[in-house]
């Protein structure tokens, strides 16, 4: 081994940058989270845990946790399920798999902010295509019957869609009943293609002979083979997909900032948006730092959970 000092020049810049850009800011946020500092004033006071207490005290912050958690709880299971489902369908096709794969992956690639505006126009209460279809559907027999559930014997006027038909179509992003759901829908649309690709790779790695072995053991139906072989063999993929989707959904910002700005009545007031609003727009440095620390706590918790599960050996091979 050569005894040169070149490693200092090789490692030095990276170590300095890691420290200044990734580690130091955590301490900066940690320190300021105990102050009432804001950019307008020249000095600040130490206020102890007051910023953290505020998170539990004010309804705006409680709504923030509700919005963030609800968003994650909707987006993660649905996009993981759709990712796995589409991967299994695509991998079992005789032909055309590459085509669907490319299409489902498009939203992962495309600039989310631009696509958020495209969705905004699609969901527009007056000029949007979605409401036009729903509106026209009220007078189309089979469509109306299908969505009101009257084909199952429900009373059509009491159903959700029937109610919309006799009143008017929803303002998807402007009504607090629907806004978070609509934002979550865009999130799912954007995320599931990524999960699909990871699952496709995971499926490729499942040894074919395991299916034959399962058949010998009497697992004949597709469902039984899935339960016995596919699902458990995908163990590491599940852990990774769930963790990365959770972390990414916690970080949702673009769609919220562009389409709802946290509203209506704070129904879409997610954490990263709150951090941006308090810290950057209102210059409340103490509060922005507190939110940063809490947010980082959530992200670390998710990652450590992942590490824990991976070390527990989630599959047997």
């Amino acid at each position: 081994m050569a005894h040169s000092r070149s490693h200092i020049w090789f490692v030095g810049p990276a170590v300095i940058l890691m420290f200044v850009i990734l580690i130091l800011p955590i301490f900066v946020a940690g320190i300021f989270s105990f102050t009432d500092y804001n950019l307008g004033s020249t000095d600040f006071r130490w206020i102890g845990w007051k910023n953290y207490e505020a998170l539990g005290k004010y309804s705006a912050y409680r709504k923030m946790f509700t919005a963030s958690l609800t968003y994650v709880v909707i987006v993660v299971p649905v996009s993981v399920f759709l990712g796995l489902g589409s991967a299994m369908l695509i991998s079992s096709l005789r032909f055309g798999g590459e085509f669907y794969k490319a299409i489902f992956f498009l939203p992962v690639m495309a600039t989310l902010l631009a696509m958020a505006y495209a969705w905004e126009f699609t969901l527009d209460p007056v000029m949007g295509v979605l409401n036009k279809v729903l509106d026209d559907g009220c007078s189309v027999g089979w469509f109306y019957k299908f969505f009101t559930g009257s084909w199952l014997g429900f009373n059509p006027t009491e159903s959700w869609y029937g109610g919309l038909c006799s009143d008017r179509m929803p303002n998807w992003l402007g009504n607090k009943k629907y806004a978070l759901g609509s934002i979550a829908f865009i999130g799912i649309w954007q995320a599931f293609g990524f999960n699909m690709v990871l699952y496709l790779a995971g499926l490729m790695a499942v040894p074919r002979d395991l299916y034959a072995a399962a058949e010998i053991d009497g697992a004949n139906s597709t469902w039984e083979k899935f339960k016995l072989v596919t699902w458990p063999m995908l163990g590491p993929t599940h852990v990774f997909v769930v963790t990365i989707t959770s972390i990414r959904s916690f970080q949702v910002f673009d769609t919220v900032e562009a389409l709802t700005r946290g509203g209506p009545s704070k129904s879409t007031y997610v954490m990263v948006y709150a951090m941006f609003e308090k810290g950057v727009k209102q210059n409340l440095i103490g509060m922005g730092s507190t939110l940063t620390i809490v947010f980082l706590g959530f992200v670390l918790l998710l990652t450590l959970t992942q590490v824990f599960f991976i070390n527990r050996k989630v599959h047997y091979s």
């Binding site: 900066v28 600039t111 696509m115 505006y117 495209a118 126009f121 699609t122 940063t292 990652t303």
Partner: protein
Amino acid sequence: MKQRTNWGSEAGKHIVLIVGALVVILPFYLMLSFSLKSPSEIQSISGGFFGAQEMMIDHRCLKAGRSELECTMLPIVYNYRAAFEEAPLLRYLLNGVIVTLSIFAIQVLIALPCAYALAKLKFWGRDVVFGMVIFCLLIPVHAIAFPIYLMLAKIGLTNTYAALIIPWTISVFGIFLMRQFFKTVPDDLINAARMDGMSEFSIVWKVMLPTAIPALLAFAIFSVVAHWNDYYWPRIVITGDHDLMTPPLGLRMFKSDMDGNEYGPMMAAATVIVAPLVVAFLLAQRRFIEGITLSGMK
């Protein structure tokens, strides 16, 4: 055991996938379609995909004092012209290119030597440095964006190219990835280079770099896509200076500067911003999928 194709179930799968594909494509379709149609066709949801392409008069052009003949144009021309003339769209695109390429170049410049040292050199403190890399992998830059912004504001760097680039100069993921890759390069190759009298410095750039091209290409796609599309960080550090805005931020400003019903030009601008990556993706799908899911394949 050979399975016969069950054409019934094959058709069923295609139907499900086609319905899914239609939903996925819908906003792309509408974006492109709106960028081609006239305002009245957009408002009344008519005209199909291309619109009737009837000549229309650009009112802003008339107000600027030009003749009616000059201001009569096809809706498609109107939309794209407005996108490029009403907003400095070319400037935004140029900024996007400058920022994404600078970030990638600096990331490689910092990460490659570090990865080489971690993989192939023995020195005091190596495990500590590697431990630091692993720890930093847990910290997403978006999560600590606010304190980074504070520090940049303190030294007066907001509203500069530097602010857009600095937080991304260190890619611990890049270091980790390249280290794993360099581990697989045989020591003999490096020893032979040392025998030839090459310095460690030229070993990094003349021996290791060429072996790492495939891994670097995947990392390039990963990095460029992420930063071309990033909206959160530019939104924080660039306030008001249009000359520094990246494409997504520019689109945001374009929307708030436009009148309420300028959907055509808006969607024309959105199309122009989304197009480069989508086209590149369609041309080199496998590489793109590999690059973007890189973080998932480690």
